[in-house]
């Protein structure tokens, strides 16, 4: 069941059908769980072949100009390996601004030429000789590489695969676009790349932070199980704190995406997350996704909040019965407490602890850690 859940999450992540919350959680797992990352890669390979049937479309030529300009800054020519002996077609460019004029095949009329992009990228020959992939020096020149492939073989999709025909029918050239873009594309265009950069920066930072926390917790030995923490994604939004008691200074000008939330991965070992806990301070909901096996018929997992504000752990309810559980956060926990508390999962009798405090072993713990206020934007 554990493997199926993880696999299904990874598969739907790759396919793209997860909800935003679930995507955040999958990305949290990707950042801390190499096993999950590997499963995602396998799914990317499994499903990725479907791209073969997508019609190639020439992008406008200025796309390359912009890419070229952007890499110009961090790619000084001196960094290029002198022994590099590409099967060169365009001569190496020396000035980024001259590049645009010197790439004649970037014009929109390129469709009339033999289109490299819609040519086969993967061949049966390649698959049969994977060792070649590691030995580029064996390639003896462009004429070898550019050898046209025989496409008249027996592998005609039309006859052999009704699925291919279905796929084809779902990909009409002028069919309805699968778009869900609202009518303000310009604003969106200018915002999204930056948001992605911020987010990547956070993840790098947080992955580092998770390691620090792990060591810290092991050192104090407060909990037997290994603690691993990951706080996902964007910062805790101070403006959304109903009590306005955020103690952390936050750069006011930083745009807070409306979906800011905290994510903690509750696990025993770095490679085996057990629960993913998401706290949405805006809507005051917490969501728990079970990633591991169930507790068993006569037991339940119970989620606890452990804070210095309270003398004993406070129950947040039973978890793990459903793959995905969302419930409101009890009103008496303010945002600061939610942010600073530890979270733990204990194994309790069916129905939960009869005493209001953990009675069974604490199996999984984790903690929300705030990302750096004013981290790179």
């Amino acid at each position: 069941m554990y493997d199926d859940d993880r696999d299904a999450l990874a598969a739907e992540y790759v396919l793209g059908t997860l909800s935003p919350d679930e995507r955040d959680q999958a990305e949290a797992m990707l950042a801390i769980d190499p096993g999950f990352a590997e499963i995602v890669r396998v799914w990317e390979r499994r499903l990725g072949e479907l791209n073969v049937m997508v019609e190639a479309v020439e992008p406008p030529p200025d796309v390359w100009d912009k890419i070229r300009t952007e890499i110009g800054g961090d790619a000084p020519r001196s960094a290029i390996e002198p022994e590099s002996s590409l099967p060169v077609e365009p001569a190496p460019q020396t000035a980024p601004d001259a590049a645009a004029e010197e790439t004649p095949d970037m014009t929109p009329e390129v469709k009339s030429e033999p289109d490299l992009s819609s040519a086969p990228m993967l061949t049966l020959d390649d698959l049969a000789a994977p060792q070649d992939l590691h030995e580029p020096q064996d390639l003896d020149g462009p004429q070898h590489l550019d050898e046209p492939q025989d496409l008249d073989g027996p592998q005609d999709l039309d006859e052999s695969s009704p699925v291919a025909a279905l796929a084809s029918s779902l990909l009409p050239p002028d069919g309805e676009p699968a778009s869900q873009i609202p009518a303000a594309p310009d604003a969106a265009v200018s915002v999204t790349p930056r948001a992605k950069v911020e987010r990547s920066a956070d993840i790098v930072y947080l992955a580092r932070d998770a390691r620090r926390w792990r060591g810290y917790t092991a050192a104090i030995g407060a909990i037997a199980a290994l603690l691993a923490i990951y706080i996902g994604i964007e910062q805790f939004a101070p403006a959304l704190n109903p009590l306005g008691r955020m103690s952390q200074p936050v750069v006011a000008s930083r745009t807070q995406p409306p979906g800011s939330r905290l994510v903690a991965v509750l696990q025993q070992e770095p490679t085996a997350p057990a629960f993913l806990l998401t706290v949405d301070p805006q809507n005051r909901t917490l969501t728990v996704r079970t990633v591991t096996a169930s507790a068993g018929a006569d037991r339940n997992y119970e989620l606890w909040l452990i804070s210095s504000k309270y003398t004993s752990p406070r129950s947040l309810g039973l978890v793990g019965g459903e793959q995905f559980t969302t419930r409101p956060i009890p009103a008496d926990f303010d945002a600061e407490t939610l942010r600073t508390a530890s979270y733990a999962v204990s194994l309790e009798p069916a129905g939960g602890s009869p005493k209001g405090v953990p009675t069974g072993p604490i199996l999984f713990t984790g903690k929300m850690v705030e990302s750096l206020p004013g981290s790179p934007s």
Partner: protein, 181 residues
């Protein structure tokens, strides 16, 4: 025609900051990536943005590409798709009526499938997909090609969203079983 071998080689050169190799890689892959992005994002301006993001990521992450576990084009398409899906999901699912009108791209008829490249892996995937019920085949393919969410699949195919959810999970696990590793 560029073969996978050469794309792998180009990515290796890109990892060493070889701009000429990067340009060649771009030329060889741009139309495929743009086609994938346009289908999901709908708007050329947005697809162009994601093109830039994706290729910048390729430029910085080329050293992490491992030919043992991915082919260059699936690696790059996965990167581009993932970003496109992020964008459409984070913005929430709009109703079908809110979608922009027809797209002025890809107006030429696609070449017949028979002329397309068909790898062993694609054959295997298609034969496994073919074992699913036709409706399940449709939702998997529509999700992949169009980037539709469960809600959109439910709405457009007139199937309850919980059914979509169950079907997706089951179908993907069946595909896994069928394909092995």
């Amino acid at each position: 025609m560029l073969m996978q071998t050469e794309l792998v080689w180009l990515l290796g050169a890109v990892a060493k900051r070889d701009e000429a190799a990067f340009e060649r890689l771009y030329e060889a892959t741009r139309a495929k990536l743009y086609g994938v992005l346009l289908r999901i994002l709908g708007r050329p301006a947005l697809a162009e943005e994601v093109m830039q993001e994706t290729y910048l990521k390729v430029w910085t992450m080329a050293d992490q590409f491992d030919p043992a576990i991915a082919s260059p084009i699936t690696w790059m398409v996965a990167m581009a798709r993932n970003r496109a899906i992020d964008i459409v999901r984070k913005r929430g699912d709009l109703s079908i009526e809110d979608e922009p009108e027809a797209l002025e791209v890809a107006s030429e008829a696609p070449p017949p499938l028979a002329r397309r490249e068909m790898t062993e892996e694609l054959k295997r995937l298609l034969s496994c997909l073919g074992k699913l019920d036709p409706e399940k085949q449709r939702i998997v393919l529509l999700a992949y090609y169009s980037g539709w969410s469960r809600d959109q699949l439910a709405q457009k195919l007139d199937i309850p969203v919980n059914t979509i959810k169950t079907w997706l999970r089951r179908s993907l696990l069946e595909i896994r079983e069928c394909m092995g590793n």
